[in-house]
């Protein structure tokens, strides 16, 4: 039984790898998982040398699905072979980026796929302990994942001497408490240690000094869910699904003004225009497209003219935005871009941890400025001031949240300046429906 339909109506254009078990009744149970190739990759990996596992993942071109898109196998290879402190695998399930909702079905419908991925990662770096850090609002998912972990222990896929290989691995979940910033890897580590979720100074990177000072790899749910398929089918197979250096498929979360919103698994490099028009069924209500946020709220907005782009990390970067977390937000002609900027600024001001000056003060300033501006109290200088504030945040913060706040704002100030001017001219928001009172 499954209510997977809530997530997507599905599309014939999809290439289902990690979502292939979605929709199968009881797909979260270990029995169903085992019936569908479950834990075969683990068996295979345990027969390989740990370094060969790392190389396989490296060569597959699997890039981090959490946002930054770093080659996963490469990250694993930075973990020192010898370490006086224990090594850890941490799964980042803090999914909080507005527009992003793909880790959710991965944990809801296929938690064993994730567990298997974590186990293989653990074997690859020779760690014996993993953690899944789940955002506070996903408590119901934690129950599903916890149940799956229990099943895996019961069947000997977790614990001591897994599948008779001599490899030991323990895994448990940990809940966040509602801070977006705790998705940032080092803030996550602090939070996991029971400290405030402030990010750490890097270097040293977590692969060298991470959780409790031990070498630690941190990967997104989707990244780790891909690992069993790579091991089972080979790096070459996986790489070929996507574009050069961008292996595999990815879950795209289509939302906003779109006819068929949902989570779709599409090959890396899938064209954005087709994604909107064919997979998503076009702009909702047949309206005109105004812009697209291609990878979650942290990314610069692409205008309607800029959507002829292949959805892989490098192509989207070339187009001046980011593939980010795969959250594709479609904005139609009735959308007020000042309001979009204000709404995004509000989110980041609320979520800034407050540790560093430019983000703490800058995001609040942006939010206040844009709120005032949108309410009709803007002044001419606001557009330049706002842009400058965002530029002053950019590249100067301790963690990337500051950049995440600055980049969408900068793109909107620059690409939609005329909308700001329209607000100034009218003294109100041109998009807001106004009831005219008759005297």
């Amino acid at each position: 039984m499954s209510d997977y339909e809530n997530y997507a109506k599905g599309s014939p254009l999809e290439v289902k790898v990690i979502s292939k078990r979605f929709g199968i009744p009881n797909s979260a149970s270990i029995d169903v998982y085992l019936q569908h190739d479950g834990y075969k990759a683990l068996q295979k990996a345990l027969g390989m040398k740990p370094d060969d596992v790392i190389n396989e993942v490296k060569n597959s071109g699997l890039r981090g699905r959490g946002g930054a898109g770093f080659n996963a196998g490469m990250k694993w290879s930075f973990v020192p072979k010898q370490s006086s402190k224990p090594k850890y695998v941490v799964c980042n399930a803090d999914e909080s980026e507005p527009g992003t909702c793909k880790d959710r079905p991965l944990m809801e419908y296929d938690p064993h796929q994730l567990i298997e991925g974590i186990l293989i990662a653990g074997y690859a770096i020779q760690s014996q302990q993993g953690f899944i850090y789940i955002r506070g609002e996903y408590r119901y998912l934690m129950e599903i994942v916890d149940r799956a972990i229990e099943e895996a222990y019961a069947r000997g896929y977790l614990g001591k001497n897994i599948l008779g290989s001599g490899f030991n691995f323990d895994l448990c979940t940990h809940t966040g408490a509602g801070a977006y910033e705790c998705g940032e890897e080092t803030a996550l580590l602090n939070s996991l240690e029971g400290l405030r979720g402030y990010p750490r100074v890097k270097p040293p990177f977590p692969a060298v000094v991470g959780l409790y000072g031990g070498p630690t790899i941190i990967n997104n749910v989707e990244t780790l869910s891909n690992v069993p398929h790579i091991i089972l089918n080979g790096a070459e197979w996986y790489a070929k699904l996507g574009t050069p250096k961008n292996g595999g498929t990815r879950l795209f979360c289509l939302s906003g003004c779109i006819a068929r919103p949902g989570v779709y698994e599409l090959p890396m490099g899938f064209p954005l225009r087709r994604m909107i028009e064919e997979v998503g069924g076009g702009v909702l209500g047949g309206k005109k497209l105004k812009g697209v946020i291609p990878g979650g709220s942290s990314c610069p907005v692409l205008t309607a003219d800029e959507i002829d782009v292949a959805m892989d990390y490098d192509s989207v970067a070339k187009a001046g935005s980011m593939l980010g977390s795969g959250g594709v937000v479609v904005l139609d002609e009735d959308t007020c871009m000042v309001k979009v900027a204000q709404r995004i600024a509000k989110f980041y001001a609320h979520e800034s941890c407050g540790w560093c000056v430019p983000c703490r003060e800058g995001t609040a300033w942006l939010k206040n400025l844009l709120t005032r501006f949108h309410s009709g109290a803007g002044v001419e200088d606001d557009v330049d001031t706002g842009l400058d504030v965002a530029l002053n945040i950019l590249g100067k913060t301790l963690c990337p949240l500051g950049d995440a706040a600055a980049m969408p704002a900068i793109s909107i100030f620059k690409k939609f300046r005329h909308e700001f001017e329209e607000h100034l001219r009218l003294g109100r928001c041109p998009y807001e429906k106004r009831t005219v009172s008759v005297a």
């Binding site: 405030r196 750490r200 609320h350 407050g354 609040a364 002044v379 200088d381 606001d382 590249g395």
Partner: protein, 773 residues
């Protein structure tokens, strides 16, 4: 520290629980990697900063490397010695081959690095950070305590902030009183987290945390609404802006209206350098302004706030002379001539040994030196002693006997030590600076701390090994192989045998033979082991060094030693009685029995510190007291003269490590005289014409006459702490109970602290002695 460890009396902790180690929960991230260890021994690194080539030790952060060649990179959250934050982003610089600007406070130097600190990009970034900091800042500089010495103000002056573009409403929040001595003003706070770190990493108190998040972030006490802490005020000291202000100083003055005089704290025996700030002949503030000296910015609650006894309106300002059983005001002339007349009378009638003198452990070396000279050559008695709080004589004797007088450890040695053995003292309460230095050694230099003590103590958190014993003396015997050793002591001995250059710090629990045994055994440890004896007050060490002892002349020469006597006799042109005098206990017994008929007390309150009953003192025919306050002892005196405090005189004091430093006169208190002036005048009353015009004349004589004090005067006069290395053959401690443990807490220091409003205003001061925060 685990539950199990905190319960067991004996704990071996293989990992020192360093405050910056991950693992101990706290309010903000700690990571060992955030405090890089500079390795002066490693191969030097060469880089280029603004075109200048810089060669420095590996592990150095860029901001320090730049400072080494005079390039200043602005910073707020960076604070030398505290963990790195990367929070204020003021220190951004551009490094070639790196895309983004980098923070100089977190970047470790590497060979070939090319750094620019003054490019337009960098300058604009700095300006932007300042603009951000000022958005919610109240800009109330004209009424802010910090105005004129504020790092934010300075940076705006230097780097400029654009005219304000911030049109939004500033956040406001009311000021909070964290304690009677610490106030917090959120709008002024720039959230550099220095206060949090100095409290946690420096003090190991961890009283501060952060509340809320983002723009609403605020500094809060970690436990409840108010600070529960050691009240050292370090947080106020390190705060770059006027966000944390001092309960004793706030809204009193502007910094530039004060005169600043560097001198030495007059409370405990550690000898912190401090700068007293004076306006209108009142002390308004104490902080070690230039961070010079072995205490850097450190001062404890007593040093930072407890100077206000000097300003107290209970100070004696006129001599008081007993007439018709009543103490009445009189002139200095009358007081001193009365004293001389009465003393002459008593000596004529009952002999010089019917008179006794008690000195002070707060007065200057010069005064102590003159006091014993006065007793020995003018009164003609060796009945001179003081409130002894540590057994310095035994340390000097043992090191001299072992021909090892190069083994006195200095305060810096404690800070730099790689291994420290602490016995029989709780420095957190009795020697705050020693405790601080020990914590720094552990945190910053990975030192191992070994503790043998009868009581639980806070420093245990830093210890690799803590041994709770019934009796430290017995433990020393066992360590030295003369007593029964437990397996635990065996482990300790084993561990120490693998250390090098251990610094042995011992308190007043060890006396006489125990000290001798400890030193003898300690000298057999590998490397150059060194020793510190802890004595409680500002010049406890100096009082002993200057021979305010019945059997010991200045420089630990035995009174019984004819050659030593002859040396001082020729210097003073007067005879010294050959017979050692009465010690403090014998003096009080003599008063009881009627053998002692007159007593002179300088800067001491025997009713409190020796527990002598006022009734006993009333048996005296004549009691003379020189003091700052109408103490219980002064109340029963026949003549009381008002003495000058440490702030009102010049001279030198010697700290518990034997480092001598200069006191500088900062102000005058009308009506008072220094003990130096009192003694010279009193000697004149007896017809002696002492050749001293100033205390410096006495110091010159000390340098010439006192073994171990042949110090270079200039080094002292420029504010240095000069090491003395006493060498002598003092007689063994007559009886162990001649050491009177002072058991002062963080908020008390004998009688004078009773006259400090600041110290007595603290809730913490009302807690039982030894409370750990």
């Amino acid at each position: 520290m685990s539950e199990a460890n905190s319960k067991s009396p004996f704990a071996i902790l293989d990992q020192p629980t360093r405050p910056d180690d991950a693992g101990r929960p706290g309010p903000y991230p700690r990571s060992p990697a955030l405090s890089p260890r500079v390795n002066p021994q490693g191969e030097a690194v060469t880089l280029t900063i603004d075109g200048k080539s810089v060669t420095t030790a590996p592990g150095t952060v860029l901001i320090e490397a730049a400072r080494q060649v005079g390039i200043e990179i602005p910073s707020y959250c960076y604070y030398p010695g505290l963990s790195l934050q990367g929070a204020c982003r003021m220190c951004v610089v551009s490094i070639e081959k790196m895309g983004k600007l980098q923070t100089a406070c977190t970047t470790i130097v590497s060979n070939g690095m090319v750094v620019h600190t003054d490019s337009d990009e960098v300058k604009n970034a700095r300006k932007a950070m300042l603009e951000f900091l000022l958005t919610n800042h109240p800009l109330d500089c004209p009424v802010c305590d910090k105005g004129g010495e504020c790092e934010l103000q300075d940076a705006v002056f230097r780097y400029g902030a654009a005219e304000t573009r911030f049109l939004e409403t500033k956040q406001h929040e009311e000021e909070k009183k964290f304690s009677s001595l610490v106030y917090y003003d959120r709008p002024r706070c720039i959230l550099c987290y220095r206060c949090i770190r100095v409290c946690d990493e420096g003090m190991d108190v961890n009283a501060y945390g952060i509340g809320f998040r983002g723009g609403l972030s605020v500094i809060i006490p970690n436990r409840g609404e108010h600070l529960e802490c050691e009240e050292c005020g370090m947080c106020i000291d390190v705060c770059p802006v006027g966000a944390l202000t001092s309960g004793t100083y706030r809204y009193k003055t502007r910094p530039w209206e004060m005169t600043h005089v560097g001198t030495i704290c007059n409370h405990c025996g550690d000898g912190c350098k401090t700068t007293l700030a004076i306006r209108n002949n009142q002390i308004l503030r104490a902080n070690n302004r230039d961070h010079s000296g072995f205490n850097g910015e450190f001062l404890c609650a007593k040093g930072r706030f407890g100077w206000d006894f000097v300003n107290s309106d209970q100070r004696l300002t006129a001599p008081r002379i007993k007439r018709n059983r009543q103490l009445e005001s009189g002139s200095w002339e009358e007081a001193l001539s009365t004293a001389a007349a009465r003393l002459n009378e008593i000596i004529a009638k009952s002999g010089p040994d019917s008179v006794a003198v008690l000195g002070s452990n707060h007065t200057a070396n010069e005064e102590n030196y003159l006091l014993q000279r006065f007793a020995r050559t003018i009164l003609g008695t060796n009945n001179v002693d003081h409130h002894r709080t540590g057994d310095f004589s035994s340390l000097v004797g043992a090191l001299t006997a072992a021909n090892a007088t190069d083994r006195y450890a200095t305060m810096q040695d404690v800070f730099e030590a790689s291994s420290i053995l602490l016995l029989g003292s709780d420095p957190t309460h009795e020697h705050p600076l020693v405790a601080y230095q020990i914590r720094q050694a552990v945190r910053r230099h990975d030192a191992r701390l070994y503790i043998v003590n009868r009581a639980e103590l806070k420093l245990r958190r830093q210890a690799s090994l803590y041994l709770k014993v019934e009796d430290e003396g017995a433990a020393v015997g066992a360590l030295a192989g003369t007593g029964a050793a437990s397996p635990e002591l065996g482990t300790l001995r084993e561990r120490l045998s693998k250390e090098n250059d251990t610094v042995v710090v011992f308190g007043d629990a060890l006396r006489g033979e125990q000290v001798t045994g400890l030193v003898r055994w300690g000298l057999t440890l590998p490397g150059k082991s060194r020793f510190v004896a802890l004595g409680d007050y500002a010049n406890s060490r100096g009082a002993a060094d200057m021979g305010v002892l019945p059997d010991t002349l200045p420089g630990y020469a035995a009174v019984a030693d004819a050659a030593a006597r002859a040396r001082f006799e020729s210097a003073w042109g007067a005879e010294i009685p050959a017979q050692p005098g009465r010690n403090a206990r014998a003096i009080f017994a003599g008063i009881e029995s009627g053998e002692i008929k007159a007593l002179l007390v300088f800067g001491s309150n025997p009713v409190r510190s020796f527990g002598v009953k006022p009734e006993t003192l009333r048996k005296l025919e004549f009691l003379f007291v020189a003091d700052l306050f109408p103490t219980e002892t002064a109340e029963v005196a026949d003549v009381v003269v008002p003495a000058a405090s440490f702030a009102e005189k010049s001279g030198t004091v010697t700290n518990t490590c034997g480092q001598i430093q200069a006191l500088k006169r900062t102000m005058r208190k009308a009506g008072t005289r220094s003990d130096f002036e009192i003694l010279v005048a009193l000697a004149a009353q007896f017809g002696a014409n002492w050749p001293y015009r100033s205390s410096e004349d006495v110091l010159k004589e000390i340098i010439a006459q006192v073994r171990g004090y042949a110090i270079p005067l200039p080094a002292l006069l420029v504010g240095g702490a000069v090491v003395t290395r006493p060498q002598g053959n003092p007689p063994p401690l007559e009886r162990a109970d001649l050491i009177f443990s002072a058991r002062d807490s963080l908020f008390t220091s004998g009688s004078i602290s009773r006259y400090s409003w600041a110290l007595n205003s603290l809730d913490e001061a009302k807690k039982p002695h030894g409370t750990i925060f």
